[in-house]
């Protein structure tokens, strides 16, 4: 570890120690997946606090207001952030999905228009991909869009499972712009303001009891002519580039929370005696082993040449590996907690683990289900023929 990194870590730790206090203190370790309903307004203020401290967009190029930090330092930031109890990032869709896509494929005007709002925690984003009839088969999208006489785009249709739409200012939408087109052809990638008469957002209650995602209905909703990323009809390419970010780097920060969650399991096991059960001991050790696998696989993925066009096995397997690991951790946590797990707990640690247990059931579904991941691994990674 270079001295540089040590100093940087110290800087992060110091900053967290002096900022995650006072009115923000209640946010410690809150607001992760499965806990998005915790203090949303305060968490947005926290995002702005973070931004003011220069901690958003660490990996973005300097030209786009980022700090262009090397990977090791980005990781160090996430580690120290979680160690200090940093809350779940309500701005992650914007920061880790929308922004890299705009940096890669947006126009200079779009970059100037949208990146500062994301970086400064002023504008939040939702992802409008899935529809009732288009989940794994994303290319089956039927939401339509067309340019009106004024040149602005109009939208008609329904998106579903849209995380955090109710907390967001903007949504990126994949919609069919060429009437009669099928599959990947004729789609467009639009940036749409959510607060307008043509849009209705209905919360969907999840198995956790909370409502982090929504149905979003478009009924003649509009957006400006220049709010299209890529060319009309070529939205699939943009959508896939974004999914690449979703399945890769973006989750790395979130995964730092895994370390914390495993530690909570260990603490509970030590407190309630489960730590003496040989079978539980084996599983806790295994969870730790699995975490090292994710960690090293993530490092390998990110340290390779990003310029290389070769299919990288470590990147292909990553989503499947971490989501399964997390799901198993959830089950392990509940097995450690035992019968007390049947009751919604007041104990922060146990409550968090209950959320992990339930929410991790979604990890193997969103961003490409397990089955879709395995298809991708087999076909792209191993060259197996399509069925």
């Amino acid at each position: 570890m270079s001295m540089n990194e040590q100093e940087f870590r110290q800087e992060v730790a110091d900053w967290m120690a002096t900022h995650l206090v006072g009115r923000f203190a209640c946010l410690k370790h809150r607001g992760g997946p499965g806990d998005e309903e915790a203090f949303p307004a305060l968490r947005k203020e926290w995002e702005q606090e973070l931004a003011a401290g220069g901690w958003v967009g660490l990996g973005w190029p300097k030209a786009h207001g980022g700090r262009d930090l090397p990977l090791a330092l980005q990781l160090a930031f996430h580690e120290e952030y979680v160690r200090a109890g940093g809350p779940g990032r309500i701005g992650h869709i914007g920061e880790t999905l929308m922004a890299p896509t705009l940096i890669a494929l947006g126009t200079p005007e779009q970059q100037r228009r949208f990146l500062p709002g994301i970086r400064e925690g002023r504008e939040y984003w939702a992802q409008g991909y899935s529809e009732p009839g288009a989940g794994s088969d994303l290319a089956a999208i039927t939401t339509r869009c067309w340019p009106g006489e004024d040149g602005r785009w109009r939208l008609q249709g329904q998106k579903v499972w849209t995380s955090l739409a109710h907390e967001s200012e903007w949504i990126f939408v994949v919609a069919r712009s060429t009437p009669g087109s099928v599959g990947r052809e004729g789609l467009s990638f639009l940036l749409v303001p959510l607060d307008q008469p043509g849009i209705e957002i209905h919360p969907i209650r999840q198995m956790t009891g909370e409502a982090e995602f929504n149905s979003v209905f478009f009924d003649g909703a509009v957006t400006e002519a220049d709010c299209i990323v890529g060319k009309p009809g070529e939205g699939w390419k943009v959508a896939m580039a974004l999914l690449g970010f979703e399945r890769g780097v973006s989750t790395l920060g979130q995964q730092m929370h895994f370390i914390h969650e495993l530690q909570l399991v260990i603490d509970v096991a030590r407190a309630n005696g489960a730590a003496r059960d040989p079978a539980i001991r084996q599983r806790i050790a295994d969870a730790w082993v699995g975490l090292q696998g994710l960690r090293y696989n993530g490092l390998r993925m990110l340290e390779e040449d990003t310029g290389s066009t070769k299919v990288r096995p470590e990147a292909l397997i990553y989503k499947y590996a971490w989501s399964n690991w997390h799901r198993e951790l959830g089950q392990l946590a509940m097995d450690v907690i035992g019968v007390a797990g049947d009751v919604r707990s007041d104990d922060d640690a146990v409550r968090r683990l209950q959320q992990v247990f339930f929410f991790s059931r979604a990890d193997t579904i969103y961003a490409g289900t397990n089955e879709i991941q395995l298809n991708i691994i087999a076909e792209r990674g191993l060259g197996m023929p399509r069925g």
Binding site: Q292, L294, R300, E314, L316, E371
Partner: protein, 374 residues
């Protein structure tokens, strides 16, 4: 953990060379030839320090070599000579003994194995050879039930319990020492030959004791852990080959008018193999580069080292067993035959899952580390 150009070149050379010279299915008289070519390539000199005429490289380079050897099930004394004997000397021997032996081991003038407890357990209580003082020298007595011994050895390093003053010492002896008898064993994994060694009052001179008493215990424990990382690399190579065999076979095999590989039930199985194998590979590579950095002094204490390597060890053992089992299944009937390679990997995978301790033991050690600390 990004590989340097030199490391990539080494990896490619090893892959090409071993693909061309695999001996797993040849008569054992091909082994000596393979081994001498490996020595010529300098692979036995990889971790020997430069001042002893070695290449002064480290765990990452060894990992790359071991992975390729595992892929081809190479039958050589590499594991015994380089990974075990040399590491034991580096970690536990006196400077004088290192000077005497390491260059010879690196250049094939000697080929050695290491004897610890069964399955290469380094716990003093498990050592089955005892040493007794005899004037200036020593007498070794006892039996080592399963020693890695492919017949090409000239020497052995034996960890023995000292009878009078409780303790452990490391002895060097030649395989023709009087009183030593070696009986080859009928092993299932033919690519990993073993023998039973009986020490019937083997007399050694004083300078046969090669350990540095101050570090012998910790050094042997570390040898076991570092060697387990290398074995994990070998396991990853074997798992990768099982995956390759399964992919190649199912793409060729036609049933119901289509290649079997086009069925989703088959695709998902090979994809799962890839997930486990690549995860283990990431960990082995990552841990090896951490160990290499640690060697340059950025501190990885013994407990942290053992924990990191446990992760590699558990993943690699499980991945190899899983991939070997799946490779057999995905080959159908031919997968059960002697003619096809999956069975060889299946046997190697089982062997490797037991040496240096089963995953259960590594997990329990980790659990103790995670759960029982004050």
């Amino acid at each position: 953990m990004k590989l340097s150009d030199e490391q990539r070149a080494l990896q490619e050379t090893a892959a090409d060379f071993l693909a061309a010279h695999t001996n797993a299915r040849k008569e054992t008289d091909a082994d000596a030839e393979l081994w001498s070519r490996i020595v010529e390539l300098g692979w036995a000199a990889v971790q020997v320090p430069e001042d002893l005429d070695g290449l002064g490289l480290g765990p990452v380079e060894l990992v790359l070599l071991m992975e390729e050897m595992g892929r081809r099930l190479a039958r050589t004394p590499f594991l015994a000579n380089v990974v075990l004997a040399q590491t034991a000397l580096l970690q536990a021997a006196s400077a004088e003994a290192q000077q005497r032996a390491l260059t010879a081991l690196a250049y094939g003038e000697r080929t050695a194995t290491l004897i610890l407890g069964p399955g290469l357990d380094a716990e003093p209580a498990s050592l089955t050879v005892k040493a007794r003082r005899d004037g200036d020298g020593w007498v070794l007595a006892g039996e080592a039930a399963q020693v890695l011994d492919d017949g090409l050895l000239t020497h052995a390093y034996v960890a023995a319990r000292i009878e009078e003053a409780p303790g452990v010492a490391l002895f060097e002896l030649a395989v023709d020492a009087a009183g030593l008898s070696r009986t080859p064993l009928e092993v299932w994994d033919l690519t990993r030959p073993q023998a039973r060694w009986c020490f019937d009052e083997v007399r050694l001179t004083a300078d046969a004791r090669v350990d540095d008493p101050a570090r012998v215990l910790a050094g042997l424990a570390r040898t076991r852990v570092l060697a387990a990382l290398q074995l994990a690399a070998e396991q990853v190579g074997g798992a990768a080959q099982c995956l390759q065999l399964a992919v190649d076979y199912t793409k060729e095999r036609v049933q119901f008018g289509k290649p079997v590989a086009s069925f989703q039930a088959v695709k998902h199985r090979v994809a799962e193999m890839m997930v486990r194998m690549e995860t283990a590979r990431s960990t082995v590579l990552g841990v090896a580069s951490r160990v290499a950095q640690g060697a340059q002094g950025s501190g990885l204490d013994d407990a942290a080292l053992a924990a990191e390597i446990a992760a590699a060890r558990v993943q690699a053992s499980e991945a190899y067993r899983y991939c070997a089992q799946e490779a057999i299944q995905l080959h159908g009937g031919v997968g059960f035959t002697w003619e096809y390679d999956p069975q060889m990997h299946f046997k190697r995978a089982q062997w490797a899952s037991q040496w240096f301790g089963p995953t259960r033991d590594w997990r329990e050690a980790l659990a103790a580390h995670l759960l029982d600390a004050a």
